[in-house]
């Protein structure tokens, strides 16, 4: 079975590639997977890669905001990469670009 989240890197930068649709149902499991890895590796930068995400609703934005506040506690900043135009529309609408330890890379 395909993993929901594939992790790469470790010490300084950790990349989490999300590989499924993100809604309230799937976000719960992804949150657990990412948080576990985040606390295990304590990276300086957490990159969330959305290039394999075919669907996302505002639960995905909740997932991002939640990870940002957690990352902040361990001095880690968050980067979002691989956002399609579709997903960017949601990112802009929800205004997550304003979060201080978050960078959206287009």
């Amino acid at each position: 079975m395909q993993e929901d989240v594939i992790f790469r890197g470790g010490d300084r930068t950790l990349t989490a590639e999300i590989c499924c649709e993100i809604d309230h149902h799937t976000a719960r499991r992804m949150r657990e997977l990412i948080d576990r890895e985040l606390f295990l590796k304590k990276p300086e930068i957490l990159t969330l890669d959305f290039s394999s995400v075919s669907f996302m609703d505002s639960s995905g934005m909740g997932l991002v905001l939640g990870r940002c506040s957690l990352a902040e506690q361990i001095g880690c900043s968050v980067r979002l990469v691989g956002l399609s135009d579709r997903l960017m529309k949601l990112v802009r609408l929800c205004g997550v670009e304003k979060v201080k330890n978050l960078t959206v890379i287009k």
Binding site: E21, D23, H24, H25, A27, R28, R31, F55, M56, D57, S58, S59, M61, G62, L63, L65, G66, S69, R86, L90, L93, C94, G95, V96
Partner: protein
């Protein structure tokens, strides 16, 4: 006078796995009007938000044995319009205006961004929310597809 060309009704238990079911059904249902990828994406997202609201808010704290259902009814019109109504018999919303305000949420702290209604509103052409405390909530979304 616009004419209904197709209609459907669907009742789903308020289980989070049904968020994906609901948006798949709506995608298939409106395929007849051949919406663009963008229009379909908007609609799928709006439906997902409404169904999530039923599960996360309307039926919050209700046990599995209770009958918590989400009712979805959709219509296609010959004017290339789609309407989707999503309703529940949940707790209702005390102040709809406040609930619709961006960033307002009573959900799990830090994990819900309070953008559900804003997404529904932005991704459709109109959104009408009716709610009665203790009775339930209904959202009616309308989207007009490009010719």
């Amino acid at each position: 006078m616009k004419k209904i060309i197709n209609e459907m009704k669907l009742r789903l238990p308020a289980r989070s796995v049904n968020e994906a079911v609901a948006r798949s059904v709506i995608s298939s249902f409106c395929a007849e009007l051949a919406p663009s990828v963008e229009e379909l994406g908007d609609l799928r997202c709006a439906v997902s938000e409404a169904v999530t609201n039923c599960i996360v808010h309307a039926y919050r704290g209700r046990g599995d044995d209770e009958r918590c259902y989400i009712y979805i009814s959709a219509r296609l019109y010959d004017t290339r319009e789609i309407t989707v109504e999503i309703s529940d018999n949940g707790c209702g919303i005390e102040n709809v205006e406040l609930a619709r305000a961006p960033s307002f949420t009573t959900g799990e702290s830090g994990e819900r961004c309070g953008m559900g209604f804003l997404v529904m509103e932005s991704f459709t052409d109109s959104l009408c929310v009716k709610s009665r405390v203790g009775k339930g909530t209904s959202v009616l979304m309308r989207k007009k597809l490009k010719p």
